[in-house]
Amino acid sequence: MKDISLLNVIVFSLSVLLCLFCIIGALFWDKKTDDGGSDERQKMMNGRSGNYSFYTMVFVNAVSYLAATRLNLPVDLNVMFLVSIFLGALSYTLYAIWKDAMFTKIWTKKKWIIILILWILLIAYAALGYIKNKIVDNLILSLTACVVLIVVMINLAAKTLVDRKQLKIDEQEE
C-alpha cells in the first residue's frame, strides 16, 4: 500500500472544501438569475439527464468493482472511477442533446462547439505529452475522453440534421 503523504491529504481536503463551497454557493445562488437561459421544459429535461448520469456512474463503478474483485480482471479501479465520471457526463450530454435541452439562449451551440474544440486540443496536448515525455501516466483516460468527444460530435451532427429535416416537415405542414 502506498504511503499517504501530508501533501495528498492537504490536496484532498482542499478539493472537498472547494466542492462544499461550490455546492453551498449553488444552493444559495439567486435562482431567478441562474437559469442559464434554459426554459422550463429544458430545466425539467436537465433534471432527468442528471438522474441518468448518476445511474450511469453508479452502474459503471459497480461493474468495474465486480470485475476487479470477483472476476479478478486486471482493472485499475482508480482509472475506472474517472472513466465512470466521463461516461456519466456522456449520458447527461447525449440525453440533453436529443431532448433539446443542451443549447439555451446563453449556452448556445456555438459556445459548446468552442468548448469541445478546446477540449480536443487539451487531449491532443496530453497525448503528445504521453508520447514524448510520458507526462500522462495512463492513456486510458485520454482515450476515453477522445471516445466521449467523438460520440458527442457525432450525436451533435446527427441531431442538427434531424432538426433541419423536422423543421422542413413542420413548415410544409403549415
Binding site: D39, E40, R41, D100, D170
Partner: protein, 64 residues
C-alpha cells in the same frame, strides 16, 4: 394529444414557432413539444402564450 388550437392560433397571428418562442421567452423546441402534445406547459407559460396570441386559456387549452 396534439394541441392543434395553439398551432391554429399561431397561424392566425402569422407567427412561426421561432417567433412565438421568442415572444414568450422559451426555445422553439418547447413550442414544438407543446403543439405535438409531448409537453404540458406550466400555467405561467400558458398565460404568456395566451397574452401573445390574444386568446384565453379556454381557447387554447380547454378540451371539449
Amino acid at each position: 394529444m396534439k394541441n392543434l388550437k395553439l398551432k391554429a392560433a399561431r397561424a392566425l397571428k402569422d407567427m412561426s414557432q421561432e417567433d412565438l418562442a421568442k415572444a414568450v421567452d422559451v426555445s422553439r423546441q418547447t413550442i414544438n413539444a407543446i403543439e405535438k402534445g409531448d409537453y404540458n406547459p406550466s400555467i405561467n407559460l400558458c398565460i404568456a402564450l395566451c397574452k401573445v396570441l390574444g386568446v384565453t386559456l379556454n381557447d387554447l387549452f380547454w378540451e371539449e
